[in-house]
Amino acid sequence: MQGSVRFDNVEKVYGDRVLLSIDTFTVNPGQCILISGDNGSGKTTLLKIMSGLLKPEKATVTKNDVSLPWVKAKSMLQSEMVYLHQTPYMFDTSVFNNVAYGLRATKVPKAQVEEKVWQCLRWARLDHLTPRNAKLLSGGERQRVALTRARIVNPSFLILDEPTANMDRGSRHQTYELIQRLQSEGMSIVISSHDVEFFANIIDFHYFLEAGNLRKIDIGTKQRKHKSSAVVTPFQRKGR
């Protein structure tokens, strides 16, 4: 089911405020897109619309050259995208059950669930947390459990809402590393973040959300290299 998804004329209104009015926006398989913008500019709102969790006032969603009415677009988006909240909600149960949620919800056989969950937890190096109650984890641990919980359902696109906000350096680094590995495995990712420099090394496109519309920002290779050496390298040294 891999394929681009295009959004045209997306409009979201709260009261008499037009929050979003986006001409066009496309997400392509295999790409990593960063959306930045000021607080309250509508990043979360846009990401939830893209994930089929929030109904816009207007939107034309096109997949494989077919335009879908919102009802159909919504279920397509819900099955293709997995949205990760700014502060992920952990179900009041073990880390294992949290990660297993998506598989059980889609009625994957029991033995397979068990195997896949362990495999994913080991992949994320979270297996030591398996029996812990997920609600009692630290912010960084929650974010990584949430990423694992999302990865296991193997979505076409992963939508990450400020995945590294309010974290200490170590957690930020561990989360970054997971995202980077997801990306190198070919996962398509959309990230919203204030921290453009932090993600500079893995993103293919950068959009700035302003006055309800997306503006494409040029990410020159020179700038990218400079940023990566200035920010990521000393950071990695510290993290290890």
């Binding site: 819900q78 997995v82 992920p88 009041d92 949620y101 889609t106």
Partner: protein
């Protein structure tokens, strides 16, 4: 003073001695109220969920209606059920007046708005991220609904306990539609009312103690649920 002391002593003897008359009345109370709660809980929870998460016309009006019905007097419910079940009433042919079934119906009507309104509050204040997380991970809407309910389970439990506390101690409706018939529809509150009016305090005190003890136990349950709620 001497009388009260004597009556209390007799009451304890009745209770601890396992007086069959007393325990039969207690049994009727529990059987009727547990049935009422059992029958209304699934529908109440579903309705509360739709009121909290749905987006349909008349939602607001329905919510305030249920909150209004929280304070409905038991005698008014009793009167209404009585009229419907009385021989000349619309459901008179069923011959249900002065039966346990009539009491169950009355208590269902009393408990329903309590469970709906309180569960609605619990679900309304639960994190929207629960629903969104469930949906985005591929859960069907019913599955996502159960997940939301599970996460709010202590609040929902509190709603059911509160409704049960109200109906097990309720006298007006049971008296009217049950008729306080010995071995049949005499439950704890109607028995207390009758014994007291006859000036026989021992049985009244014994049953009163059962209710008090129950209230205490339910409150303990509730506060432990609330404690879990605050910890979450």
């Amino acid at each position: 003073m001497q009388d009260i002391y004597q009556a209390t002593k007799e009451a304890l003897i009745l209770l601890l001695g396992g007086d069959p008359g007393i325990w039969e009345i207690v049994g009727i109370s529990f059987s009727v109220s547990l049935q009422a709660i059992l029958y209304i809980t699934p529908l109440s929870l579903l309705l509360a969920f739709l009121l909290a998460f749905g987006n349909f016309r008349g939602r607001r009006i329905l919510i305030s209606t249920f909150h209004t019905f929280l304070a409905i007097p038991a005698v008014v419910v009793g009167l209404t059920v009585y009229i419907f079940l009385s021989r000349n009433g619309p459901l008179g042919d069923l011959g249900l007046l002065f039966s346990q079934t009539a009491m169950v119906i009355g208590q269902m009507i009393l408990a329903f708005p309590i469970v709906v309104a309180m569960s609605h509050s619990a679900l309304q204040s639960s994190d929207r991220a629960i629903w969104e997380t469930a949906k985005t991970l591929g859960a069907s809407s019913p599955k996502a609904m159960f997940t939301v309910m599970y996460e709010a389970r202590f609040g929902l439990f509190a709603a059911v306990i509160a409704a049960f506390s109200r109906i097990i101690a309720e006298v007006g409706c049971s008296m009217m539609v049950g008729g306080n018939i010995l071995h049949h529809t005499r439950n704890i509150p109607t028995a207390i009312a009758l014994e007291t009016s006859k000036g026989e305090f021992a049985q009244g005190i014994a049953l009163g103690l059962v209710l008090l003890f129950l209230a205490l136990a339910l409150n303990l349950l509730l506060s432990s649920a609330r404690y879990r709620l605050e910890m979450a």
